[in-house]
Symmetry: D2
Subunit: 303 residues, 4 copies
């Protein structure tokens, strides 16, 4: 359970104050506001604020393109057109602010997305809580034998038990010693900014993260992808559900053109054209390397 009664009370309190506004509002997002959506064993994603809706995208596009876009009376058609043709600036007109609790090793991947605003809990100022990510049994995988940066089959039996035991024991010991070093009981107590160095990467941190919709889509395309590490993917998937409630038209276009879409090289689309004319194309006649050809076949097979 990621929330303390105190935290739940804060959420309930925040949700109880209804105000009037003449800004764009989205009922689906009002229902999400402040609530903690659990992710992993102690993590969560919460919507703290949002700006704009689907219409904010078309409104901005119509400022850019003026009367020319008035003909496209259909908002959804315009949004799909913008997505298809990589017109990114109208999507930047929507903004979302999230409160996320996540393991440090996930935070380290996440922060590489630079076009966002972040306020992270500071372990120089404050003492971190004793909360560590310990994988569920079905998320405890062996190293992939084909992919240097992926995982393979699920560990089982004794090996799984041994790994879980090690992760738990090392987390516990590291935190015990963190506390022991910080303690001012009979000693001076180590500085917090130093003591934190003893904590492993599966400890939880938290931050406020604010991003525009265009950059959020970029994040989701990479992190909700099947090749992303499971532990960040589950955050991205939870965020996808939220975005679907926030800007359903834009999210639909994103799913079709980005998540479900594929990029074909000049060589690959040339092969497709030849195949559609009935030519039998092989790797040898494709001009592609073995690796490219394998990926190309996967695209054609939909695997």
């Amino acid at each position: 359970m990621p929330l303390t009664p105190e935290q739940q009370a804060e959420i309930d309190d925040a949700r109880s104050h209804t105000r009037q506004t003449i800004r764009a509002t989205v009922p689906g997002m009002e229902a999400h506001l402040y609530k903690a959506h659990p992710v992993l064993d102690h993590g969560f994603v919460r919507v703290i604020d949002y700006m704009g809706d689907d219409q904010a995208i078309t409104q901005a596009a119509r400022v850019s393109y003026g009367k020319g876009t008035k003909k496209v009376t259909n908002d959804e058609g315009l949004i799909r057109y913008l997505m298809r043709h990589w017109h990114s600036t109208p999507f930047e007109m929507c903004e979302i602010k999230l409160h996320v609790k996540l393991p440090v090793f996930v935070a380290r991947q996440w922060i590489r997305h630079r076009t966002a605003n972040v306020n992270e809990y500071s372990a120089r100022y404050s003492i971190l809580d004793r909360e560590f990510y310990i994988p569920a049994p079905d998320a405890l995988n062996a190293q992939s034998t084909v992919n240097n940066q992926g995982r393979g089959e699920v560990l089982e039996g004794e090996e799984a038990a041994r790994v879980l035991e090690l992760l738990k024991a090392d987390s516990t010991r590291a935190y015990d010693n963190y506390e022991a070093m910080l303690s001012q009981d009979g000693q001076k107590g180590l500085a917090r900014e130093l003591a934190r160095m003893n904590l492993p990467a599966n400890i939880y941190t938290q931050w406020y993260w604010k991003v525009d919709l265009h950059n959020l889509f970029h994040f989701l395309r990479l992190r909700a992808d099947a090749h992303a590490q499971y532990e960040i993917r589950v955050y991205a998937e939870e965020m996808c559900k939220i975005v679907a409630d926030w800007v359903p038209m834009a999210f639909g276009a994103f799913e079709d053109y980005r998540m479900g879409g594929v990029q074909l090289s000049g060589k690959a689309i040339d092969c497709v054209r030849r195949m559609l004319k009935g030519e039998e194309v092989t790797q040898e006649t494709s001009g592609m390397s073995a690796g490219e050809w394998r990926e190309f076949e996967e695209v054609l097979n939909g695997s």
Copy 2:
């Protein structure tokens, strides 16, 4: 008058739809929403949306600094502390979206602030309106005799009249010919993306501009400054009034520490210390160049 009856009707309509939200709202900003604040002869600034308030800043700071900041129970004290110590990320948690109508030469300065989102009216797609900035008589200045990039005294009499006449006549002729080249009456009509090149830099354009509060403060510090060009400064000043209504505590800290503050070099603060001990310091004994010393004296005199 910058607004057509059609535009005014759109604003009235937008302002008439009250919705319920549990997000942070600011009554002072609700009063501004959608209204056009006139700037220059045809320009305006309108608030289209906003995210966050003063509390959103301290809330983010408290996520970063955790329990350590709970002692600073006073939100204003915490905001002033953050501003004084250049903690920029909490201010990034507020966001504003503006609709601005402005002359192209002002837009060219404005766009140099890169950390913002922009959707500008496209003269490739659409035809620009016949609206040009013609300075008011008290904004028609001679080149400064002391500052390469500034203006000096106001032009008067015949010279002023001549300049105004030239600006008006050239604008009118340029637009007449723009229309003539575009016309498809008895001819093919030049492409809009080409015809626009005939239009001078005092024609008005418009855009949606979205920015976080930290970057907005940076913009305002440079553009509301006395050394900024008058034609962008009036926009910045109008925005200052809006921001004062949006986040009054943050704006107060910004005024004291940024707009009203001064930066002293190591040499300058050393001189101040010596002067406070009673030493008579001159340029020769200051270690400063003539230019630095003159600026230093201006700071001490408050001029």
Copy 3:
């Protein structure tokens, strides 16, 4: 002729000083350095400096991926892999600095690429030169009848002559009056920051523009594209030639995967799969809108 004898002498001088370095150097870029590549009637692109080469990309990738990438002994294979899988950060390790002279309306499009460093000639400080872009006859097109933001067939005969005459006359008059307003001969002289507003968008400006290779590729993909406005495309095309000499492997991958590649939506790739299995797919059975289907057919036909 874009260069004055004085400018040519500066270039010759800059090219005459050979120094020793142990940094990565690229002979193909040394040959380009400082030279002005003419673009349009008065514009140019010049390489002022560069950092890195193809190996700088793989070197950075190997820092990221460590021993795992050592197996890919082939630099070109690794670069193609990185491009294919959207690994952008290794490409950011190369940097280029250009000096560009370009019409203001081109500069206004260009500057929308925010992730770059820019120093533009300031018309507040200095007086602009009397140089205007006047399209060559084969670049003087009518508005497209099918594309709101494109151009159609070339103007001919009297209409072309009339347009060229108007562009020339208005440029000349605008500049004459710019000078007349600035003049301090018998009058105070209007401030430069004001006088510039009379100048049309086809006047030339210039800037130093510095960008990393990843963001440069993004710029080139959009601006060297057939849908880009001709007047910016010619700059992009000139830059493509330079980049091909700088990082030939990366540029080859860019050409294949970005410039020559296509993005297919989930619906589109599904149709391809069905077609390859022999199904006759029509717009009705594709799930696509009429516009999407038309673009899809263009992709399949290679038009």
Copy 4:
């Protein structure tokens, strides 16, 4: 000793290839290139490449400000003027690429500077080395009793010994278990992307980090400051020495106006003016809060 013989051989090899270039070169930087400057117990900073020199700054400024700046014949005077007046873009025209080895908790602070390019060693792909930061005895401090995010006096005697023992033992055990979980000897072996979560924040990582001079100065102002955490400050100080050799004029201006300079609020400069006129100003009559007054007195006392 941070370098293996293999690494030293690579550096020697890289330094042995002299090439000819007509780009700007800086002898002081050529002397630094590729060499590892040791920082902390296992870290280093190495210059991999650089672009530009002091003249590249003034050259860019002169493009911006044109003939107006030619009067300032003195490059150093112009650079100081640009720094004093916050003209940041000319400083962006210089770029540096560093290879840095650093503890993860330092990397987590460092990465918050978003305007830079980074390629970090990936612990998903590769196995991290067994190298941990263990503070030297004089860098093992107690929590500050006055500053929530600082450290106080050095730990001594038994407490110091106990802390060092804990840090070493936990690092060793964590790494032993990391290896045990990864091992494919008699078991499948945990995925690297999972096993890494057991490693504490004092393990070393490494990255290539590329940044322009303006943003580097911003980094150095914050991280070479006396309030920065010691473990990142030593990196910043090492980088300051490198930058002083690279762009000595710009670094001199940076030291005087940024590192050695102070920012005074409107209230503070008003107090200075009153004090210089002979008025006795106290906190009560200053308009400042107790905290501000204390900081103001520190500035005046130079402490």
